[in-house]
Symmetry: C3
Subunit: 157 residues, 3 copies
């Protein structure tokens, strides 16, 4: 039987998303069936970095402007220092030939990790499918629960 | 056999508590036996909004004053903007006819989700039973572990 | 069969680490096999409080200086108030004859909780084995996954 790993990625920080994707990629390498369910601020990890023109209301536009456009622009949960912290982390990642968050996400897609965007919170934050990376699935909490119920490792990050 | 879902709600933010209660309500709708174990700042989601007169020491009074009185007064984990963020979120929740946190909590109680307050952290933060909603259970870490041990989905939020 | 509990301690705050160690000690008391896998800021809970002389690059030194040296110096995730919050918490812990974080860590070691430091993030943050408490294991994400796969309670804190 395949081992299932499910991760709810709620947090919108570079370091927390890194942890989620490192665990996901590790589990996929061990042939787990892995799902990352992106909700709330975790959705930002899936945003394209380009400005995508979509029809939005005022609040939706505001949220869209204030939230980071994609993994590379996310801040740190600690020692962010107005954006200097992420630069430090990216520097040491290169020094140690480790993988950046965008690289970890690309690797997860190659390894067929199931990347899911929570449609309910997309609605709340005004995010549209055109703004997210290709190859993403769209689902609600019911789909998450169906996966998690058989999950061997279930985490909320 | 009933599927068990247990959530430790440690965080005291509106958005994180929303995520916890959305998962809990979803799981209850699928006939899971669901427990939310509120500890540390998560206890604030269970506070009554009224000022309740109880006998407290100085530090306990201070904690009581500084912590939000109930779900509706909690801030956001991101983009709080001195309280403007929660207003934005509540506005879009209404726009999308989604449920607010107090509504999600009421629904959980209707669905017989087991809402537990951690007695040890109540002591530390000086919270008394009179200050919390009706229909709450009171227990310690041992009770949580007994539930979680058979849990199919265990999350820490 | 032994029940397994695994906790990823990612967060570097006093209150979150307290929650992790209270759950871990509780589980160990019920004869669970317990592992706490410390990664990112969670590694700081394992630092010695003394200044340890080790050979480091500039960024590593900077990280080392900015991160708290050991459990006793960690801040709170809420109401930190420039360090006054932790003092308040430690005060009420004493009042209620509860255990401080350093005491909880010592108890976990006595109870043979498996304390693991994530070698990948040690590299990123420039932490060396000499700087961490004695009796720690060193491993990567693969070792964590091997434990978590059989875990009955898996949490990310």
């Amino acid at each position: 039987m395949t081992t299932k790993t499910t991760i709810v990625l709620f947090s919108g920080e570079y370091d927390k998303a890194m942890a989620a994707y490192i665990i996901a990629n590790g589990a996929a390498a061990y042939d787990h069936e892995v799902t990352i369910f992106h909700t709330f601020w975790g959705l930002n990890a899936l945003r394209k970095k380009e400005n995508i023109k979509v029809n939005k209301g005022l609040l939706e536009k505001l949220f869209g402007k204030m939230m980071p456009k994609g993994a590379d622009r996310m801040g740190l949960s600690k020692m962010n220092f107005l954006g200097f912290g992420p630069k430090m982390i990216k520097h040491v990642i290169k020094q140690h030939q480790a993988m950046t968050l965008p690289q970890l996400i690309a690797m997860a897609q190659e390894q067929k990790v199931n990347l899911v965007a929570c449609t309910m919170t997309m609605d709340l934050l005004g995010l549209k499918e055109e703004e997210l990376l290709k190859g993403i699935d769209y689902a609600g909490v019911a789909a998450y629960l169906a996966e998690a119920e058989d999950g061997h490792v279930n985490l909320f990050i």
